[in-house]
């Protein structure tokens, strides 16, 4: 319990300070803004409650994009890592491409994806998967390569085939690395989903955020952001939990 006490205390202090600064109008004065634009935590909380149905409906759309996109990115990332481990030629050919995939500016290609795949879930999945793919693929690839050469020699004299070496030694060695990649992916996947929704969608937290900005609904804007943050934390927590169940030797 004590490991949660400190961050909880910090969070409470920050929220408390924010509440006082916002409700007294000091924060708005400081920023030179209308008080309307600087909601207090209490106002955000009430927006969260008042708009709970709307938020839940849009959050479920976004959550679906995040989870499905993440799973596609995970599958592609792990598959790629295994493929690159099998063949040095493929590794040489694909590794630069893999790095290039991360350099694609998402805000730029997102509109193109809308043109290609329409306003449905398709373009969002592509964006989320693309974002998730990279940290998972790179970490898993590094993990597969991190096996001690002595262990490889030992396994060879113990009559291991290439495939046995991969599944008995390299894949388990790479697991903690792959989990690190997945945790990074989990925290950035919601950002990717919002980007995907931003350029064109019928529903989702990204759509809601955009409307709230246009309508100066700042309290609900913060409420939606809080929901998004909660989704990212939950996803990260779920992966960390699975990791603790599986990687028990560390």
């Amino acid at each position: 319990m004590s490991r949660w006490a400190l961050p909880a205390l910090l969070l409470a202090t920050l929220i408390g300070a924010w509440q006082i600064a916002a409700s007294s109008g000091a924060l708005a004065d400081l920023l030179g803004l209308e008080p309307l634009l600087v909601p207090s935590p209490a106002e955000i909380a009430s927006a969260l409650w008042d708009s709970r149905a709307l938020l839940a409906e849009n959050a479920s759309v976004t959550l679906r994009e995040i989870v499905l996109g993440f799973l596609i990115g995970l599958g592609a990332g792990l598959g790629f890592a295994l493929l690159l481990r099998y063949s040095a030629t493929l590794r040489r050919a694909f590794y630069p491409l893999m790095v290039a995939s991360q350099a694609i500016p998402i805000p730029v290609i997102a509109p193109i994806l809308i043109v290609w795949f329409g306003f449905g879930i398709g373009p969002k999945l592509v964006v989320v998967a693309l974002i998730c793919f990279f940290p998972i693929a790179v970490n898993a690839t590094d993990g597969l390569r991190s096996v001690d050469p002595e262990a490889t020699k030992m396994m060879r004299t113990l009559d291991a085939s290439r495939r046995q070496l991969l599944w008995r030694v390299e894949a388990p060695t790479a697991l903690p690395y792959a989990f690190s990649g997945a945790k990074i992916a989990a925290t950035i996947a919601p950002i990717a989903a919002i980007f995907g929704e931003w350029v064109g969608a019928e529903s989702g937290l990204g759509v809601l955020l955009r409307e709230d900005i246009a309508n100066l609904q700042t309290a609900r804007l913060f409420a939606a952001t809080a929901v998004l943050t909660a989704i990212a934390l939950a996803l990260y927590g779920a992966i960390a939990l699975v990791e603790r169940r599986i990687v028990t030797w560390r």
Partner: protein
């Protein structure tokens, strides 16, 4: 086979590799009953190792220069030399993990690297136990690699656990084992492979002096009951002289033979008496002198 391997990996994910739990702790390291370990069919035949005119280099760096070595079947050859003199490389060359630049390596009449690989088991300097597998599955790796089912492989490896003072530690993960225990499991893993030749690369270098002496006695007993042709690399002259029949002292890089010595009492049951006998002390002095000569 491919499917089975993936299943193995998934097993790991579901954390099922439970092994029966025993509580009796091994205490004494006595004489091991001969036989009864590996089934007779797996007891490997005695095989000799011969190295002639061996040369090796990494790029421009010549590591081994015209080396000749002979190990008779079930003989133990100790190799000592200054660090970085190419001892480990020599083991890899013998095992068929590398090919020499020139010269011949012959294991039981087989010069071909693939044949050498099939006759040699390599025990690396660090134990290289797989941390996610219980001790018994680590020891049984070679059997699994040859396609044995996990249960059958465990049954076979368990027999050796009993004989070599590891009973009760079957399901213990390597991280929970002491340094000496880890080396025992690593050695059993090498022995279970059922290969006629064992290549041991400074097997006890990571242990403290007391545990190391204990492990030398343990290994000597193991080799008395399960004789193998052994090439043992060590930087510890005493260890080599106690465990090996003959000790070859190598020079600094490029490695060549400085001196060949016969051990006075190889693997004698009473280690402490053996290593303090005048003959042993004299042999050690000679080896040390040769080592100094070769390092210059």
């Amino acid at each position: 086979m491919r499917f089975l391997l993936v299943m193995d990996f998934l097993d790991l994910l579901s954390q099922k590799p439970e092994v029966r739990q025993d509580t009796n702790m091994p205490t004494e390291i006595g004489e091991f009953a001969a036989g009864g370990g590996l089934p007779a069919s797996r007891e490997p035949p005695g095989v000799s190792v011969a190295v002639h005119g061996l040369q090796h280099s990494y790029g421009q760096l010549q590591t081994i220069e015209r080396l000749d070595l002979e190990v008779p079947a079930h003989g133990v050859l100790g190799l000592v030399g200054p660090s970085g003199c190419g001892k480990s490389t020599l083991l890899e060359l013998i095992c068929g993990l590398q090919e020499p630049a020139a010269g011949r390596v012959d294991v039981g009449g087989a010069p071909d690297p693939a044949d050498r690989l099939s006759r040699c088991a390599f025990m690396p300097q660090r134990d290289m136990l797989l941390p996610w597998l219980p001790a018994i599955d680590n020891a049984a790796l070679a059997l699994r690699n040859r396609g044995a089912r996990r249960r059958a492989a465990r049954v076979e490896a368990a027999r050796l656990f009993e004989r070599f003072g590891l009973a009760g530690f079957e399901s213990t993960r390597p991280a929970e084992l002491s340094g000496g225990m880890r080396q025992r499991v690593a050695f059993l893993r090498t022995l279970v492979a059922g290969k006629p030749v064992l290549a041991l690369d400074e097997p006890f270098a990571s242990l403290d002096a007391i545990t190391r002496a204990e492990m030398q006695g343990w290994l000597a007993a193991a080799l008395r009951s399960d004789p193998r042709t052994v090439v043992l690399v060590s930087h510890d002259v005493e260890e080599a002289l106690y465990l090996a029949d003959h000790v070859t002292v190598l020079s600094a890089r490029p490695a060549r033979v400085v001196e060949k010595l016969s051990a006075p009492a190889p693997r004698a049951p009473d280690r402490d008496a053996a290593v303090t006998s005048p003959d042993f002390v004299a042999a050690r002095e000679r080896a040390m002198a040769a080592l100094h000569k070769g390092s210059r």
